[in-house]
Amino acid sequence: MEKLIYLDNAATTKTAPEVLEAMLPYFTENYGNPSSVYGFASKNKNMVNCQREIIADALGAKPEEIYFTAGGSEADNWALKAAAEAYEGKGNHIITTKIEHHAILHTGEYLEKRGFKVTYLDVDEDGMVSLEELKKAIRPETILISVMYANNEIGTIEPVKEIGEIAHERGILFHTDAVQAFGQVPIHVDECHIDMLSASGHKLNGPKGIGFLYIRKGVKIRSFIHGGAQERKRRAGTENVPGIIGLGAAVSRAVRTMEERTAKEKELRDYLIDRVLEEIPYCRLNGHRTKRLPNNANFSFQFIEGESLLIRLDMKGICGSSGSACTSGSLDPSHVLLAIGLPHETAHGSLRLTLGEDTVKEDIDYVVEALKEIVAGLREMSPLYEDFIKKN
């Protein structure tokens, strides 16, 4: 096999062999519908509930507060739309941030079209939400605050506990999109006063197509998928049993390995950041230097464009991602990079590298050497670099 250094673990992760192994019997042997009466199938209901317990334990929640979904985007959609509807009588104002995932931002826009008012908070140059700004944005009619636990592009970890306290004191629901953070950092829903939390299986070495929404007991929330009585009548549809088994196995594994894994990732991440900043001129780190996900590094290289960089890295067997327009499918670079104040051309030249549990120091060394060569080569070709050199 050709060399493959996978540093795009924020996009998705490899399903761990033990996770896959746990799932397999639920396709071909234990395939019964958990809602059926006979023992062959109904024991799958117990298995599903066991996974609910594992996940609840990981968050300090109760099993009946975990609702399985088809992934993070569904959980985000559900939290916002259904909470907005359920609390419409109380108010029509929602507060979120400019750096949320599109699953939140586009849902916010959808709700705006249906008469809700949405405030999108600015962030500082590190991507951090200001608690003062948040307090100022709160109105008597505010019903929901949704702030991501950690940003998927730049890795910044938000002051979730403080935000939760502010929301709690004022009786406002607090939702957090923890798709990138869950399994990477310890999360406790009570300590942080989290009322709803979205997470996804494939970001933590689990399968794709499965996730969950944590909904605190007592929170009024409408059913999102109407139909059968699954998920306490709030999310109909036959349970994705293999997916749920895989999610449970992945969560239990992530909790077990978290301390050691993230310590190792942090060390390698810092090694990567230090080397890149030191050895490649005219580049910067995006996101907070320390309050960031253990596996996330995000750089901007001046005078070059991200897609070109990604293709050249790919030629060397390195997988990363960029916030350039060409990779976003629109003409604008990443909304997150613009929100932290980067000028367009610097945002176009961004590179996100997200480490995984298999990443080793040799990979980082190889990547840094490749980056040095590629960045220099692309700059040689760049009219912006030519102008910069001539001016200085």
Binding site: Y282, C283, R284, Q302, F303, I304, E305, G306, E307, S308, I311, M315, S324, A325, C326, G329, L331, P333, P343, H344, E345, T346, H348, E380, M381, S382, P383, L384, Y385, E386, F388
Partner: protein
């Protein structure tokens, strides 16, 4: 996503560089959209393009179209170079994904901008050539670290 030809021109771009005392230089695109192309032309007294170089800030398609465009105009007369349209560049590359078609427009514009510069310097008129519209620094202030 890209054809083999696009990848070949991206991986091994032809005619990258600058020409000192070029007969004409044209820069188009802007940093805001993430694409800037600069074309240098060396044109002799018989109005033949003896040499051409380019520099591009942009995606894979932008680099490949610049490279292909320089190949298509090299050794040609100005009149022939005027026939090198974005369609011709795209065809020579075996096509581009729909979202990247604007890159080929940029390559055509860059050649026209360089020819315009040449025409202005030499006080001549090139039939069918219009004044280039874009300026690379109109939207952004350069930022340094």
């Amino acid at each position: 996503m890209y054809s083999e030809k696009v990848m070949d021109h991206f991986e091994h771009p032809r005619n990258v560089g600058e020409i000192e005392n070029a007969s004409g230089v044209g820069t188009v695109g802007n940093a805001k959209c993430g694409d800037i192309m600069r074309i240098y032309l060396d044109i002799d007294e018989n109005q033949i393009i003896r040499d051409v170089k380019f520099k591009t800030f942009g995606c894979g398609a932008a680099v490949a179209t610049s490279s292909m465009a320089t190949e298509l105009v090299k050794g040609k007369t100005i009149k022939e170079a005027m026939q090198v349209t974005n369609k011709a560049v795209m065809e020579a590359l075996d096509g581009l994904p729909p979202v990247k078609v604007h890159c080929s427009l940029l390559a055509e514009e860059a050649i026209h901008a360089a020819l315009w510069d040449y025409a202005e310097k030499h006080d001549i008129k090139i039939e069918g050539l219009k004044k280039p519209k874009s300026d690379i620094h109109e939207d952004e202030e350069e930022e340094e670290y």
